[in-house]
Amino acid sequence: MWKMKGLKDKEYVGFAALPNQLHRKSVKKGFDFTLMVAGESGLGKSTLINSLFLTNLYEDRQVPDASARTTQTLTIERRGVEIEEGGIKVKLTLVDTPGFGDSVDCSDCWLPVVRFIEEQFEQYLRDESGLNRKNIQDSRVHCCLYFISPFGRGLRPLDVAFLRAVHEKVNVIPVIGKADALMPRETQVLKQKIRDQLKEEEINIYQFPECDSDEDEEFKRQNEEMKGSIPFAVVGSCEVVRDGGTRPVRGRRYSWGTVEVENPHHCDFLNLRRMLVQTHLQDLKEVTHDLLYEGYRARCLQSLARPGARDRASRSKLSRQSATEIPLPMLPLADTEKLIREKDEELRRMQEMLEKMQAQMQQSQAQGEQSDSL
């Protein structure tokens, strides 16, 4: 392959306009994005979502009181909204998990969430393998915002259990809710504690891709800043505070001052919004598709190859963790290769059988065939 440039600089071939062609199609098609929010009640999830996307998704929501909550189990709720800005449509689907962490006994309360995520993968796998692939709806969860309480001392056992259950299946972004309850120093300490705990428990949150060397300095600086502020300490607000004289800001008014949501010194809301929508939306979708979904698909197909392997898979998942990166096969590497080899052999045997069948069919057909088929 040789690299060639045009004969003369002023005579362009014209394919530099290609991204615009792609552009046009994307604008027509629009984008879709599925976001999941999880965490205990009362951490400001709904308010944050409303402020992030400037919608009223939770407008008619009624907060249940304590008696209703004791009997409530975890449910999965989906809400959709279409946001249009500058001619571009984004179909945002929000998956909420009300009831998480609310009961007295929260054991296994994350299982419905895990099941939901896998069901979306399965649906997509089915659609992708089907015959009519024209309009596949992508309902896979692209990102999960997990809310951590600012009042604790880092991650609690429930947080750890939930994160460990979902971190290999969805992009997790940890967020500290209601961060206006903390002073700056307390925020730093809490963030560091959470980061240390995540490392200790080997939880893989969403990794920001590295910046290219040819990106400009401002972008690199912003990227580093964003990476450094995980988990994001956020404050959400649905109200706009209009103090006499100063410009209106979105914030929470206290008697001792006003917390401005979009002020980078007050909280990380802007960073979160920039990351989620402006710079990493596409990357989140790609990681979901290329890594997490492919991992699910590989596991699914391998278990179909050898039905017995499914039992082995569930047993070894409990006993040890694989050392390789995502996508993780459920079995250690050596076994996986053996599986693949066995599957290949099976395929070969089936192919030979089919060839014999086809040869027989062709012999019987060859007599009747005269004209060109088509």
């Binding site: 392959m1 690299k3 060639m4 440039k5 045009g6 004969l7 362009y12 071939v13 014209g14 394919f15 306009a17 290609l18 991204p19 062609q21 792609l22 552009h23 199609k25 994307s26 604008v27 308010t47 409303n50 992030l52 400037l54 009223n56 998704l57 939770y58 407008e59 008619d60 929501r61 249940p64 009181d65 709720e77 809400r79 959709g80 909204v81 279409e82 946001i83 249009e84 800005e85 571009i88 984004v90 399965e122 992708e128 393998s129 015959l131 024209k134 649905c238 109200e239 979105r250 929508v277 990493h280 939306l281 290329d290 492919e294 698909r297 197909l301 179909l304 192919q351 060839e355 062709q362």
Partner: protein, 357 residues
Amino acid sequence: MDERRSLSPCSSRPSSPRTPPCEILGSVGIEAVLDQLRIKAMKTGFEFNIMVVGQSGLGKSTMVNTLFKSKVWQSSLPNLELPMPQTLELHSVTHVIEEKGLKLKLTVTDTPGFGDQINNDKCWDPILSYINQQYEQYLQEELLITRQRHIPDTRVHCCVYFVPPTGHCLRPLDIEFLRRLCRTVNVVPVIARADSLTIEERDAFRSRIQQNLKTHCIDVYPQKCFDEDVNDQLLNSKIREQIPFAVVGADREHLVNGRCVLGRKTKWGIIEVENMAHCEFLLLRDLLIRSHLQDLKDITHNVHYENYRVLRLNESHLLPRGPGWVNLAPASPGQLMSPGPGKVRKRANKDPREDEC
């Protein structure tokens, strides 16, 4: 103006405090998503595979050189020392062209020997077989358990068919070929070496060809049935009126009125390739590269490849065991249409890059 519309209602639950409605101030910043796409596209680059089909001497190689302004192939004068290929062969050449920071990986497949034999019956079979083989390769990659992140795309996105400038109408060979290929790949017919026809002859030839295509139900690119909306329809109808384009290719430059232009110099004048009054090369270039490149790829992927896939899956005789699992039967010879003499060879381009003016 921003619009927000709620699609689905939420469940109602017992008891009091309500979340207050959110006042809108500022914007979310969604336009940046397009920038993300653009940056990604610039990094990964694009791929485009084009096939040129036509009899020898119709200027296929020159046309490819002119289209991409590079010496994709070296063949200015007919190389009379080389023997005429006895059978149809397919040669593929791949180049990476760069323009304004954007990389395009271009693969051109040539078909020397097409239509040159005495008996040209079934000369389209090796071509069909090649095209289907690329689909098969892609399908096999797609069915693997552990797939590559980016499956290399060798499928033919566009087939440019060169019609000799007889001035009458489409020949039986042309009709047979076009009829078969239109169902498998995007075909763009062009009138080759149009400098042997006057403008009036060209228009008459063109309308006869259009009539021929209609009579035989040959659907060339851009196909009417894939127009998505009114804008597309308007744009594509204009193009459809002018198909097939009458083109002239040239890779030598000459001085005309102080400008250096690509053209063919004869005793009675210089035919400028990029002059709309002389020939319609610019229309072909704009169609293939500037406006419809992505569309060609999309239709290849969403329509032609899907048709092939459905055909293969239906032929597999075994029911799938679960989502994603397909026991694919090996492609039968009749299905790929590969008779004896067809050969496919990939050859790296060895010629030097000469500058000409």
